[in-house]
C-alpha cells in the first residue's frame, strides 16, 4: 500500500511569499515616522508650558519653527536661552535670514499666512523671546505662535 507510505525528505522551505508584505510594512512605518521632524534637535526637548487658549497650527508647510532651550552640547553653556534654527545653535541675529530662507520656499501668495512657531522651554527667559520677536518684526513675520500643550 504505497499510498500510506509517504516519506519525508529534508526540511520544508519557509514560505517567503509574505516577505514583501513585511518589508512594505516596515517601509511605510519608517516613512511615516521620519517625516515627523526634519531637523535634529540640538537643544534638549523643550518642556513646553501649558495653556488653555491653544490653537492648532494648520498648514505645516507654512510653519517655521524656532526652538529655544538648553543646548545638548555643554560647550554652549547650561542656560535655557539657546536658539536653534534649522539644525544648528544660532543667535537671534540670524533669525531674519532664517525667515527669509523659509519664505523663499513658498509661493508669494502664501507668505502672509506664514507662521513662526516658537518652541521654548518653560525656564527660558522673556528676554530671548523678545529678541526673537523684535527680529521677526523687522522682517515683517508678524504671525507667531507660542507653542504650548493644552491643559491647565
Amino acid at each position: 500500500m504505497s499510498k500510506f507510505r509517504k516519506k519525508k525528505k529534508g526540511m520544508p522551505a519557509v514560505n517567503t511569499a509574505s516577505l514583501p508584505d513585511i518589508v512594505f510594512m516596515l517601509l511605510f512605518f519608517f516613512m511615516v515616522t521620519t517625516t515627523m521632524r526634519e531637523t535634529e534637535l540640538q537643544i534638549e526637548n523643550p518642556r513646553l508650558p501649558t495653556a488653555t487658549e491653544v490653537k492648532k497650527l494648520e498648514h505645516k508647510s507654512l510653519v517655521s519653527t524656532i526652538y529655544v532651550g538648553k543646548a545638548v552640547d555643554p560647550k554652549f553653556g547650561t542656560g535655557f536661552n539657546r536658539i536653534q534654527l534649522n539644525d544648528k545653535i544660532s543667535t537671534s541675529e540670524e533669525v531674519p535670514a532664517f525667515i527669509i530662507n523659509a519664505r523663499s520656499k513658498v509661493s508669494e501668495a502664501e507668505v502672509p499666512f506664514m507662521t513662526t512657531s516658537i518652541k521654548a522651554d518653560k525656564e527660558s527667559n522673556v528676554g530671548i523671546i523678545t529678541d526673537i520677536r523684535l527680529k521677526l518684526r523687522d522682517v515683517n513675520a508678524l504671525k507667531i505662535s507660542y507653542s504650548a500643550s493644552k491643559g491647565e
Binding site: S2, P12, M25, E53, V54, V126, T130, S145
Partner: protein
Amino acid sequence: MARRENPEINAGSMADIAFLLLIFFLVTTTMNVDSGVSKKLAEKPPIDYVPPIVKEKNIFEVNLNFRNELQVEGERMEIKDLKDAAKAFIDNGGGVGKVEEGVASGPCNYCKGERLDSSSDHPNKAIISVLSDRGTEYGVYLKVQNELLRAYTELRNRLSKERYGITYTELEEAYKENRDDEGLKARVEAIKKAYPQIISDAEPTSAN
C-alpha cells in the same frame, strides 16, 4: 506512487498580520500636532511715529518682574485672579467707544461691567499692556498671556451666547468648517469687533 512534495505552511494570512501591524503602528504613532497660543505682532512703527495719547484709565497695566511676581495696576496679584480682573476692566464700559471710519460706536450696550469712571471706557478702547522683565520665566509669561486671552474668550463666549445662542468657540468651529458661509463670517467678525483683543507687549525692562 508516493507524493514527494511536503505540505506547505499556509501563508495566506501572513499578509493580514502584516497589515494589522502596519495599521497598529499607524494609529499609535502620534504625529505631534503643533499647537500654541497664537499672537499677531504689531507692525514696526515708522521712525517718526508718534504714539497716540491714551487715557490712563483705558490702560490695564500688567507687570511681571524677574522674580516672576505679578503686579496689576500697581498692586500685587496672584495669577489666578488676573483673569477676573482683566474681565472687569475690559467689560467696564464706563464711557463711549472710539470713532471708527467716522462712525462713533457710542457707549457699550452689551457690557455688563460696573461702568466706573476710573476704568475703561469701552472694550475697543481698553488696552492691556504687559510689561515684563528680561529675566522673567517664559512659562510664567505665557501663563499671564493665557489668562488675558481667557478673559477675552469668556467675554466673547458670553456675548455670542446672548446674541446667537451658541458660544464664540462653537461659532468659530462652525465657521472653520464652512468658510463660505457669509452669515457665519459676519457673526464671527461682529463678536471679534465687540471685544477686540488689544494686548500690547511693552519693551521689557532689564534688572541686571
